[in-house]
């Protein structure tokens, strides 16, 4: 796919950071406001797809390699499953602790002082235990996954320039 005209490119460059910041906001506030890793990741991936449509797939592939995106997606998946398994593994370190798969092990303890408070309002972002970390992992996975789908399909069916 060849890129579009200069007007479209300029408008896309102006709108792109706002769309991306909105998606990252939805990911980061997944445990407080509606949304989460999947939804915010879809918003960020659509902003990247907007860049892909405006600038063309050849331009994008010259800057982002598909291999790096797949590494990002695998990192998200490993982080998500690892957080699930930490609920089992941390039984060994807390004596009065009942572990299970996908246990929210950060809530209700004082050893690790991150995300361990109980939310009583929409402004408390350091709450909800392991949920924000899982939102980050799933968001990373969805961003990389959806963008690599769009990128591979656009690059594989591209039309050569000048033909």
């Amino acid at each position: 796919m060849i890129g579009m005209s200069k007007i479209v490119r300029t408008i896309t460059s102006a709108v792109f950071p706002f769309v991306m910041i909105y998606g990252l906001y939805v990911i980061a506030h997944g445990h407080l406001t509606p949304g989460g890793g999947f939804q915010g990741g879809a918003v960020v991936a659509s902003s990247l797809a907007m860049i892909l449509v405006a600038y063309g797939s050849v331009w994008v592939v010259g800057r982002i390699k598909e291999k790096h995106l797949s590494i990002l997606e695998s990192l998200g998946a490993i982080g998500f499953i690892g957080l699930g398994f930490l609920g089992i593994i941390l039984v060994l370190f807390y004596s009065s602790y009942e572990g299970s798969f996908f246990k929210n092990f950060l809530i209700g303890q004082n050893t690790i002082p991150i995300f361990n408070e109980i939310g009583k309002g929409l402004s408390n972002i350091n709450t909800a235990g392991v949920l924000p970390l899982m939102n980050f992992a799933v968001g990373l996975k969805v961003i990389a996954g959806l963008f690599v789908i769009v990128l591979v399909m656009a690059y594989a069916t591209r039309v050569k320039e000048g033909k």
Binding site: A77, F102, N104, A128, G145
Partner: protein, 93 residues
């Protein structure tokens, strides 16, 4: 009519009968069915903030109470990415 079409019609008729009975046996929309679903939803509404610390109950259900289901969704996304990359590999030069 060939035997294959006949078998397909019989199969879809059976599926349609099961779907119709399933739709007729659903409990009325919006009414609280105390016999079949005694306390699950009310338990989540009451305890989600103290147990998970999250203000957003939907996220606490998706990532905490039903974390295994989210793992399945992530696997579906991974399978979709793998399928697309595998399918379009031949077209790339």
């Amino acid at each position: 009519m060939s035997g294959r079409n006949f078998a397909a019609i019989i199969f879809f008729a059976i599926v349609a009968v099961f779907l119709a009975f399933g739709a007729l046996m659903m409990h009325p929309f919006g009414e609280f069915d105390e016999e079949n679903y005694p306390e699950m939803d009310q338990y989540i509404i009451d305890n989600t903030q103290n147990e998970t610390g999250a203000d957003n109950g939907v996220t606490s259900v998706v990532f905490d109470y039903r974390g295994f289901d989210t793992l399945g969704e992530a696997t579906v996304l991974f399978t979709a990415v793998a399928g697309v990359v595998l399918l379009f590999r031949r077209l790339k030069k």
